[in-house]
Symmetry: C3
Subunit: 202 residues, 3 copies
């Protein structure tokens, strides 16, 4: 179970770092800016998560996730040279991106339950871990975070976080609940992509 | 005294959530975005306050404030349907908004003194608790936070925070000082609205 | 050694507060906004640094740095009246600004090593302490932080942070390593200004 989860997390780190770096290249940032956008997109959600529960961010203490995210940035630089930077909404990036959203939301929910947050706190942490990195990257580029107005992207993380809390509350072990949460998020996100789901405006 | 304070806090949470949600609806966010803007406007100042003094944010640990803020978001959705979203600067929202600014600044100053911050730290915490949520919401919409260029809005919180610190320093009990701080902020804010006070530019 | 370092830190606080305040005046902020921009530019990097490693920010607990930064804001108000606000890229501000970048990067690296961060974490903390305040100020004005697309500004802090970590790793005492880090950052920054170094885009 930990292996499946670790693999999802690694896929997500690469996909998020790739998407963030390409966004930076599109916006004519220099190499430092591109690397910052890629790393922040991959690691920013987890940094927000840890800061909110009073932990020194894992990304600043250990090397594993950082190395994987750096590989994603390097991949983006190669792809941007080879193919131009028009990959961003390509299906080849949307699937691993959805996997990452699922893995990140599950770790967020897990950390929230471990920190004995309220149900609302668990949902916030799941969502923020999933979408926080990309939103910081959008803000750095002077854009309204896309999760606030576009697409059915944050909602799977919200529902996955709620599912996690309910499962733990019902006595499910947290490792198993995390996997269930990731499956809920991934399934909803893929359905949303397939059927072009959107939330209404007012 | 706690009751008066609790009531002011609740009024502020509803007013801030309402104002933030309407701002989100004006900016054509989807339902998730509107809820995020409303909740962040109401709870964001307190989350910044708690994070800066190393506490897990109250809004993620307990349910009371969250439920009240959610009611404000729901109210906004109803009002936006019924009346359109042009309520934002209406007097009906400015008075409870001023009450919220006063209550939030007072809790910020109180937390700052409890965390043994410097006088500057107490003033920063009072101000940030009062105006931080709305400023985050402005940033998410790609706008310069209105407190930085408009109106006499943050200044009452600055002065209230300073008054709180002076009162505690002079031996006033902190509960009483918090009420005094709230009264100073509310009074100054209402005078500013009544007489259209502004700070100079340079 | 501590004296040289303290002097560099003070020069940096004044230079950063001055640059931030002038940026605020240029953007037609009111007095509160100008002061916020100046104080955040000077103190924001250190606040981010402390928050990430779980410390209550020094700027909220002690008075020394705050008083120096306030002096920088006051100086900016006088200069903006006397000379207009076109000082920002003037050599008279670029040199003390480089000194500040060096001092701040060194304290960031030092705090990172004290908090037993990973090498990546130390580099992030050095860079963020150096460029975080100015970047927050840019964000508040709705601008892409200039370090992401312009100039060879963050890179000296990145390299200085790496040099610090290598030195400590090699057994150099941390006080001495901090001074070495500051010299690396200052030297690289001055060379970059002199020869107009830039990082490539993609």
């Amino acid at each position: 179970m930990i292996d499946a989860f670790g693999a999802m997390n690694a896929i997500g780190l690469v996909a998020f770092a790739l998407a963030g770096s390409l966004k930076g290249a599109d916006a004519d940032l220099d190499l430092f800016g591109i690397a910052v956008l890629g790393m922040l997109t991959a690691l920013g959600g987890g940094i927000l998560r840890d800061t909110l529960v009073g932990r020194v961010p894992v990304a600043l203490r250990t090397t594993g996730d950082v190395a994987i995210a750096l590989a994603g940035v390097a991949l983006a630089l190669v792809l941007a040279r080879l193919l131009g930077s028009r990959l961003r909404n390509h299906a080849a990036i949307q699937l691993p991106d959805a996997v990452g959203l699922a893995a990140f939301a599950a770790t967020g929910a897990l950390v929230g339950v471990q920190a004995t947050l309220s149900p609302f706190g668990v949902v916030v942490l799941a969502t923020l871990t999933g979408v926080g990195g990309g939103s910081i990257a959008d803000l750095l580029l002077g854009r309204v975070p896309s999760v606030l107005h576009e697409d059915f992207y944050a909602t799977p993380a919200v529902l996955g976080g709620a599912a996690f809390w309910l499962a733990v509350r019902a006595g499910v072990a947290s490792g198993r609940a995390a996997l269930g949460c990731a499956i809920v998020v991934l399934g909803l996100r893929l359905l949303a992509l397939r059927y072009d789901w959107r939330l209404p405006t007012v």
